[in-house]
Amino acid sequence: MVSPILLIAVPLGLAFAIPVLGLASKRVPRYVPVIAMLFNLVVSVSLLPHALKAPIVVRTAGWAPPYSIHLVAGPLGVLLSSLIALIGLLVAVYGIDYIREGAKVKYQILYILMLVGATGVVLTGDIFNLFVFFEVLCISSYALVAYRGDSTGVEAGAKYLIQGAIGSGLVLIGIGLVYGTFGTLTMADIAANVSSVGSFRLFVSLAFLITGFGVEAAIFPLNGWLPDAHSSAPSSISAILSGIAIKAGLYAIARVVYTVYGASSILPFLAVLGIVTLLIGEMCAFGQEDIKRLLAFSSIGQMGLILFALALASATGISGAVFLIVSHGLAKALLFLASGYMIYRTGSRDISSLNGIGKRMPIMSLCFTVGAFSLIGLPPFVGFASKFTIVRAVLGTGSTFFITLLAIGLIGTVIEGAYFLRIVQGFYFKPAPEDSPEQTEGKVPFSALVPVGLLAVLILTIGLFPGIVGRVLGPAADDLLDRTAYVQHVMGD
C-alpha cells in the first residue's frame, strides 16, 4: 500500500518541476498535469479497497494526533480524491490543445496546484491544514479564472478574489475560535471534546466556518462570484471549478457539521438553504443567453440539491449526496468541456449561436446531450441513479418537512429540464444562424474528443450499472456520519 501523502506530494513536486522541465523542452510542461493526475488516479483507486476496510491515518514527523498534522484517508476522502484525479486527468488531456495563448507554463502549474488543493481538502484531518489546502485551491483558481487576461476574466477574477478572501478570513476566525475553545486543531480531537462546551460559543465558531466554507461551496446567498467566475474562466478551468472545486467547499461544510460538531439540529436549516439554493440557481439559469453562465447557474442549483441531501442526516441521504457529487462532477465537466470547443467553433457564447451545431460537431453535441440528460436526471444516465437515491432517502425519512421541501425541489428539476432540453433542441432541430462565421480553428482535436467521449461513456455506464460506485457510497456515508468511529481511528484508543 502506498501512502496517501503521495497524492499530495508527487503532484506538488511535479508542479514545481514544470519551470525546470520547461527549460529542457517547450512541449513537455503541457503533459506534466496528465502524468500527475494519472499518478493520482492510480494511487487513489488502489487505496480505495484499503480505505474501505479502515481509514488510513498518515502521521507526519512521527507524532501521533493530536500533536501532528495528519491525513485521514477514509472511504469518502479516497472516493472524492479518485473523482478529483479522474476529472483532473481528463481535463488535463483536454487542456493539452485547448490552452493556446498566454502563459501556458504558469497555467499548468496553477492547474496542478488547484487539484492538489482539492485533494488535500478531502484528505486532511487537521482543521488548519484544511484551511491551508483550501487557500491553495482558492488562490490558484482566482488566478486561473483571470488567466486569459481578457476584461471579463479579470473582472470575474477580482470579484471572486474579494469574496473568497472575505470567506477565508471568516474561516480563519472560526478556526481561531475553535482553537481558543479546545486548544487543538485535530478534527477528531475537537469532535471528541465538542460536547463538553457551552453551546453559544461553539455555535458562533460553527457559523463562521459554515459561512466561510459556504462561499466556496456556492450556497445561496454566498455565491455571487460563481456565475461570473465559472463563465469567464477558460472552459477547462470552468469544468474543474464546477466539477470539483465547489464540491471541496461542500465537503468541508459536511465534515465540519457532521464529524467535528455533530450539529444535527442545524440540519433542517441547511436543508431549507439547499432547496432555496436549488430554486434560485435553476430560476436564474432559465433565462440565460450565455451557455457557460447557464451552466454555472445550473451548478448552483445542483449544489443546492447536494446540500439538501447532505442535510437529511441519514445514510441513504448522504450516499445520495455523494453520488450526486460524482454524477454532477462528471456531467458538468463534460458540459463545460464540450461547450468549450463549441464556443471556439462559433466564436460566440450565445446559446442562439449554437443552434444547428449538431450537424457541424456531431460527437460533441451528442456528448453534450448525454451530459444534459444526465443532469436533468433522465434514465438511463447516472444523474437518474443519484437523484433517485436522494428521493428515496427523503421518502425514507418519512418526515413531512423534508417531503414538502422535496416537492418544492422537484419544481427546480422541471425548470432544469426545460432549459437544458431547449438547448438540445437548438443543437439538432434549429437552423444554424445565417451569419455564423465558419471558424476554421474550431476543428476538434483528438485530445478533446477523448476526454469528452470518455465522460459520456462513464455517465452511461455508471447509469446502467450504478453498483460500480454504489458499493463505496455506504461506507462513505458512514465515514461522515459515524463520529465515534472516526475519532477512534484517528486518535487511537
Binding site: F128, V132, E135, I139, Y142, A143, A146, G149, D150, S151, T152, V154, E155, A156, G157, A158, K159, L161, I162, A165, I166, S168, G169, L172, I173, I175, G176, Y179, G180, G183, L185, P227, D228, S231, S232, C284
Partner: protein, 119 residues
C-alpha cells in the same frame, strides 16, 4: 476597567476586522477594497495570536531562564499566523495584479462601473 484590560486584545483585533469589513462593504474603489481585505486579514492574524496569548507570558522557547512550559505563550497560533501571513501576501499580490489588469481594461477602479458580468 478589568474588563477592558483583559479583553483589550480582542476588542482591538475585532475592531480591525470590522474596519476592514466596513471598507470592503462601503468603498467602491478596488484598491480600497483590497486594503480593506488586508486590514481584515491583519485583524484575523492578530486574533489568532491573541488566542494563544497568556498575560505576562514569555516566548515559547526553552532556555536557561525558562525550563518549564508554564508561563509560555502558546506557540501553535504563532505558527498558524505565519502561514496565514504568507497566504495573505499571496492574495494581496494577486489582488493588486488583478487590479492593474482591471484598470487596463475598464479605465477605472470603481467597482460600481465594473459590472459587465451580472444577472
Amino acid at each position: 476597567m478589568s474588563f477592558l484590560s483583559s479583553y483589550i486584545h480582542y476588542i482591538g483585533c475585532f475592531s480591525l476586522i470590522l474596519i476592514g469589513l466596513y471598507v470592503v462593504l462601503v468603498k467602491p474603489n478596488l484598491i480600497k477594497v483590497i486594503i480593506g481585505i488586508n486590514l481584515m486579514g491583519t485583524g484575523v492574524n492578530l486574533f489568532l495570536v491573541t488566542v494563544g496569548y497568556i498575560h505576562a507570558g514569555t516566548a515559547p522557547i526553552f532556555s536557561e531562564a525558562a525550563q518549564q512550559p508554564e508561563g509560555m505563550v502558546d506557540p501553535v497560533p504563532q505558527a498558524l499566523v505565519l502561514t496565514a501571513i504568507v497566504i495573505g501576501v499571496a492574495v494581496l499580490a494577486l489582488a493588486l495584479s488583478l487590479a492593474i489588469r482591471v484598470y487596463d481594461h475598464y479605465g477605472t477602479l470603481d467597482l460600481r462601473k465594473i459590472k459587465a458580468l451580472r444577472w
